[in-house]
C-alpha cells in the first residue's frame, strides 16, 4: 500500500518572510547614537537651567578632554568586539602602562621613549591575551578576566604599591583642559584620539585586515573554511587593542601627573558601554569607530551633566549602569528583528 515517494524535506518559505528589513532599522543603526547624544545634551541643557554654561566652550573643552581615555580604549575595543571578542582587562592595562611610562620617565628616559614604553606595555598585554585565547583555547571573556587581575597586580608590583611621581615634561600636557598653545583649541590628547580614530576607521573599512576582523566576528567557521588564519588575525586584534589601552594609560598618567597603579578600576565597563552604545553587536560582525566615539561622548556628557547638577556619584553610577543595559537590550532587539 505504500509507494516510495519522498516528501521534500523543506519547501520554500513564502516570499513574504524574505522581504528586506524596513529601512528604519538601518537608519536607526547609523544615526541612533547621534540621536542619543543630542537627546542627552538637550535634556541636561534643559534641566540644568543654565544651557549657556553647560554648552559653553570651556565646559565642552572639559567634556572632550575627559572623553580621551575612554575614547582611545573604545577604538581598540571596537576592533575586538567587531571580531566577536571582548577584553575585560582594559582598566588594569591602563594602570599598568601608566605606571610603566611613569617609571620610565623617573628613570630618566625621554618623554617619547616613556610614551612608547607605556604603549608597548599595553600591546604586550594584548599579545598575551591573544595567545591565551588562541593557544590555550580560553574564551576571551575568561582570558581577559584573568588578565584583569594579573595586569593590576603587576602594576602594583612594578610601582611598589605607590604612586610614581614624574618630572614635568610635555608628556604631562597631553590631557590638560586648556592646551599650552591656544591655537590647538583642545588638548593634544583629543587631537591624537581624533587622528587615530580616523586611521582605524579607514583600516577597518578599507584593508584586508579590517574586513577579516568583521568576517571573523560574523562567522568564524566560515572565515576559517576560507583559509583565513583566524588565530593569527586574533593575535593582531588583541595586540592592537592592547596598544590603544596602553596609550590610554599614558594619557591617564599625564592627566594625574603621576603613575598610579590603583587608577582606572572599572574603565573597561565604560569602554565596552561606549562601543555597544555606538552600535556594535556583542555577538560580533558589527561595530563602527564613529559610533564608538559618539558612545564615548555620551558617557562623558552624562558624567559631566551629573556633576554639573551636583548629583552625587552614586546617581551617576546608577544612570550609567541603566544605560549600559538599555544599550545591550537595544542590541538584542535589533538582532532579533534581523533574524526574523
Amino acid at each position: 500500500m505504500c509507494s516510495h515517494k519522498f516528501m521534500p524535506e523543506a519547501v520554500t518559505k513564502s516570499p513574504a518572510t524574505q522581504t528586506k528589513r524596513p529601512a528604519i532599522y538601518k537608519w536607526l543603526r547609523v544615526f541612533g547614537p547621534f540621536l542619543g547624544l543630542a537627546l542627552l545634551i538637550a535634556v541636561f541643557a534643559a534641566i540644568s537651567g543654565d544651557p549657556a554654561r553647560y554648552l559653553s566652550a570651556s565646559n565642552l573643552r572639559i567634556v572632550v578632554t575627559q572623553t580621551v581615555i575612554v575614547a582611545l580604549g573604545a577604538i581598540g575595543m571596537t576592533v575586538i568586539i567587531a571580531s566577536g571578542g571582548i577584553d575585560l582587562s582594559v582598566g588594569s592595562v591602563v594602570a599598568l602602562s601608566g605606571a610603566v611610562a611613569a617609571i620610565s620617565l623617573r628613570a630618566g628616559w625621554t618623554p617619547l621613549a616613556a610614551l612608547f614604553a607605556g604603549i608597548l606595555a599595553g600591546g604586550l598585554i594584548g599579545l598575551i591575551n591573544g595567545l591565551t585565547i588562541t593557544r590555550l583555547g580560553v574564551v576571551p571573556f575568561i582570558a581577559t578576566l584573568g588578565m584583569l587581575g594579573v595586569a593590576r597586580g603587576t602594576a602594583k608590583w612594578v610601582a611598589n604599591e605607590q604612586t610614581v611621581n614624574i618630572p614635568a615634561t610635555w608628556l604631562n600636557e597631553l590631557a590638560t583642559i586648556s592646551p599650552e598653545h591656544p591655537w590647538m583649541l583642545v588638548a593634544p590628547g583629543v587631537w591624537i584620539a581624533i587622528v587615530l580614530a580616523g586611521i582605524v576607521a579607514a583600516v577597518l573599512r578599507n584593508t584586508v585586515f579590517g574586513r577579516r576582523v568583521f568576517a571573523l566576528g560574523s562567522n568564524e567557521a566560515a572565515a576559517r573554511a576560507c583559509g583565513i588564519q583566524t588565530d593569527r588575525v586574533k593575535l593582531w586584534i588583541y595586540s592592537l587593542g592592547g596598544l590603544f589601552f596602553g596609550l590610554a594609560g599614558v594619557v591617564q598618567m599625564s592627566r594625574l601627573r603621576q603613575g598610579d597603579p590603583t587608577v582606572a578600576i572599572g574603565v573597561e565597563l565604560d569602554v565596552i558601554a561606549a562601543v555597544v552604545i555606538g552600535g556594535a553587536s556583542l555577538s560580533g560582525g558589527e561595530g563602527s569607530i564613529l559610533g564608538s566615539m559618539v558612545g564615548a561622548l555620551i558617557m562623558a556628557f552624562l558624567r559631566n551633566g551629573c556633576q554639573l547638577m551636583g548629583w552625587p556619584n552614586y546617581i551617576q553610577e546608577i544612570i550609567i549602569g541603566v544605560i549600559i543595559v538599555l544599550a545591550v537590550a537595544a542590541d538584542r532587539l535589533r538582532t532579533a528583528r534581523q533574524n526574523r
Partner: protein, 508 residues
C-alpha cells in the same frame, strides 16, 4: 579519469560507527549523487572529504595521490570546496567580500574595492546570476541568493571538486532549475560535483552515477539510469518495507480524548479542527512549512493561540483567552515530542535517567529529594522495554546514537504517563532498526488506549502506522479520513493544495 577515490573509510563518534567501510570513486567532470536516509552518514562523509574530520581507518586518493587533509585548508588548497547544508557565509559582509573571502585583491594590505567588485561580478556573471549585486550585504539576500554566493565562492577558489550537501533543501523550484543549470555547466567545464540528496527525482535529473549509503556503509553504486527507484529505496531502507511496520488491528469505536475547534495561531495555523480518539494514531501529513509543527506546538502551549477551543476529555479549555503553559498540558496527560531533538527535546549533557524522569520527578522523589536508586530502576525498566542501547541509566544522553536518543525522548513521554502523545517527526535522523522499534512503541501506545497524533514528512511511515490521516496545507487542516481512504497520490495532491504550485513537480 578518477579524481577522488575512497577505500574502506571508517569513522566512529564515541560508540556509534557513523561510517563503517565506505568505497567511492568520483571521476573528473561528473555529477555524483550520494543518497541515503537521514543518519546514513552522508554528511560525515562530506566532512571527511572536506578535511573537517579525519577518518579512523581507510584511505583517500585525490588526483591520483594519497589525500590526507589535516584541516579544511588542505582540502581548499587542493581545490575541494564544501557547500554546507546550513550556509557558511558572513552575513554582515557584502556579496563580493564573501565570494573572495580569504583571497581579497589588495595592494599593500589595502583593499582594492574596484577589483574586488569586478572579480566578484565576473564570477556571478559566469553563474548567470548578474542580478545579485557585489556590493549588497549578504544579510539582505534571500536564501537562494545566499546559495549563489556560496557556490560563487567555490568557483572563486578554482575548485575542481564541489561537495554539495542537500543544496536544494531551502530553494524554490525556479532556483532549483537555475542551480541545476549551473551544476551542468560546472560539469561541462570539467568540475566534479558530489551531490547529496534523498530526493530521487533530483538525483535522476542531475546525477550520472550514484552511491547509496546505509548505516555508514556503501551498499549500492552504479549509473543512475540503470537502476529503478524501487531498487534504490530498498538499498536505502535495507529491508522490504512491509516488515518495518507492525501489524495493527483497526481501531474500533472509542471515546474522544482531544477535540480541537478552530485553532488559530496566525500566520502558521488557521482554523484547525479535529478530534482524537483514544487507541488511535492520527497522522498529519503536509509539506515542511505547512504549519504542522506550529499546530502541535500551539496544542502544547508553546505558541500562543489567537483563537480556538480545546476539549481535553470533558474539560473545555478556551486557549486563546489565556496563555496556557506546557506544564498545564503535562498535568492533563499530554506529552510532546519535539522535532528538534538536540535543541529542545533532550538535555544532552544529562544522564538517561534524568532525561527520562524529567517531566515526572515526583515518581522518584520525596520532599524534593531525588531517590537516585529508584530513578535508576525506573529508567532501566524503560530502557529494557524500548531496547535503548546505553551503558547504563547514568550515561549521558549525548553518548547515545540518534535512534537511542529518540527512544529516550519517547520513554520520557511514557514515564510521565501521557495519555495523549503529540509526536513531531519521531523518526527523523534515526537508523532503520530504531525506526522499527519506534513504530512498535507507537503501536503499543495505541493498543493500550493512548491517543497518538503523528506529524511526519515521510509518507510510507504515515501509511504504515496511522488509523486516520489529515493533511495540512498552508496553515489549514483537511478533515481527517480513514487511512484506507487515502492513497499516496491523493495525499500529495492535498498537500500541494488546489492551486497549481510550482513545487508540484518536486513531488510528482
Amino acid at each position: 579519469m578518477t579524481l577522488l577515490r575512497l577505500a574502506g573509510i571508517k569513522k566512529c563518534f564515541g560508540a556509534t560507527a557513523a561510517l563503517d567501510g565506505v568505497d567511492l570513486e568520483v571521476r573528473r567532470g561528473e555529477v555524483y549523487a550520494l543518497i541515503g536516509e537521514n543518519g546514513a552518514g552522508k554528511s560525515t562523509l562530506m566532512n571527511l572529504i572536506a578535511g573537517a574530520l579525519q577518518p579512523d581507518a581507510g584511505r583517500m586518493y585525490f588526483g591520483g595521490k594519497e589525500y590526507r587533509p589535516a584541516g579544511p585548508q588542505d582540502a581548499r588548497r587542493l581545490g575541494i570546496a564544501h557547500i554546507h547544508q546550513e550556509l557558511s557565509l558572513c552575513a554582515h559582509l557584502s556579496v563580493a567580500e564573501n565570494i573572495l573571502l580569504g583571497a581579497e585583491p589588495a595592494r599593500h594590505g589595502w583593499l582594492d574595492r574596484a577589483a574586488l567588485h569586478r572579480q566578484a561580478a565576473k564570477i556571478l556573471e559566469a553563474f548567470h546570476h548578474p542580478a545579485i549585486a557585489p556590493e549588497r550585504r549578504v544579510a539582505d539576500l534571500p536564501i537562494a541568493g545566499r546559495q549563489v554566493v556560496e557556490i560563487s565562492r567555490a568557483l572563486a577558489q578554482n575548485a575542481s571538486l564541489i561537495l554539495m550537501d542537500e543544496p536544494t533543501s531551502s530553494l524554490p523550484r525556479g532556483d532549483v532549475e537555475r542551480l541545476f543549470a549551473c551544476i551542468r555547466s560546472l560539469r561541462d567545464s570539467g568540475i566534479s560535483v558530489v551531490y547529496i540528496s534523498h530526493l530521487l527525482e533530483e538525483v535522476r535529473e542531475i546525477a550520472g552515477r550514484f552511491t547509496v549509503l546505509r548505516d555508514g556503509v556503501s551498499v549500492m553504486s552504479g549509473p543512475v539510469a540503470e537502476v529503478k527507484d524501487a531498487e534504490m529505496i530498498t538499498a536505502m531502507v535495507g529491508r522490504p518495507v512491509e516488515t518495518l511496520y507492525p501489524a495493527r488491528p483497526s481501531a474500533g469505536k472509542s471515546e474522544c480524548v482531544l477535540e480541537v475547534r478552530n485553532l488559530s495561531a496566525p500566520p502558521a495555523v488557521r482554523d484547525a479542527s479535529f478530534e482524537l480518539f483514544c487507541g488511535e494514531v492520527l497522522g498529519i501529513a503536509g509539506l515542511v512549512g505547512a504549519g504542522r509543527t506550529e499546530m502541535i506546538r500551539t496544542l502544547f502551549g508553546l505558541i500562543p493561540a489567537s483563537r480556538g477551543v480545546l476539549a481535553l476529555g470533558s474539560d473545555a479549555l478556551p486557549i486563546a483567552t489565556r496563555r496556557r503553559k506546557p506544564q498545564e498540558f503535562i498535568a492533563r496527560g499530554v506529552g510532546y515530542l519535539s522535532e528538534d531533538r538536540k535543541g529542545e527535546g533532550l538535555a544532552l549533557g544529562l544522564s538517561v535517567a534524568d532525561n527520562v524522569t524529567l517531566t515526572n520527578f515526583a515518581s522518584c522523589s520525596r520532599w524534593g529529594w531525588l531517590n537516585r536508586p529508584v530513578q535508576a530502576e525506573q529508567t532501566t525498566a524503560w530502557m529494557d522495554k524500548l531496547r535503548i542501547r546505553a551503558h547504563n541509566a547514568a550515561s549521558p544522553v549525548a553518548s547515545l546514537s540518534g535512534g537511542n536518543q529518540q527512544k529516550v525522548a519517547i520513554a520520557r513521554l511514557l514515564h510521565q504517563k501521557a495519555e495523549i502523545l503529540l509526536l513531531d517527526e519521531p523518526t527523523r535522523g534515526v537508523d532503520v532498526g530504531s525506526k522499527a522499534q519506534i513504530y512498535e512503541a507507537i503501536a503499543e501506545m495505541a493498543a493500550t488506549g493512548k491517543a497518538v497524533l503523528l506529524v511526519s514528512s515521510y509518507l510510507p511511515e504515515l501509511f504504515g502506522v496511522c488509523d486516520r490521516l489529515a493533511v495540512m496545507v498552508r496553515g489549514r487542516l483537511s478533515p481527517a479520513r480513514p487511512i484506507a481512504a487515502w492513497t499516496p497520490e491523493s495525499v500529495m495532491h492535498a498537500a500541494i493544495g488546489s492551486e497549481a504550485n510550482l513545487d508540484a513537480d518536486v513531488l510528482a
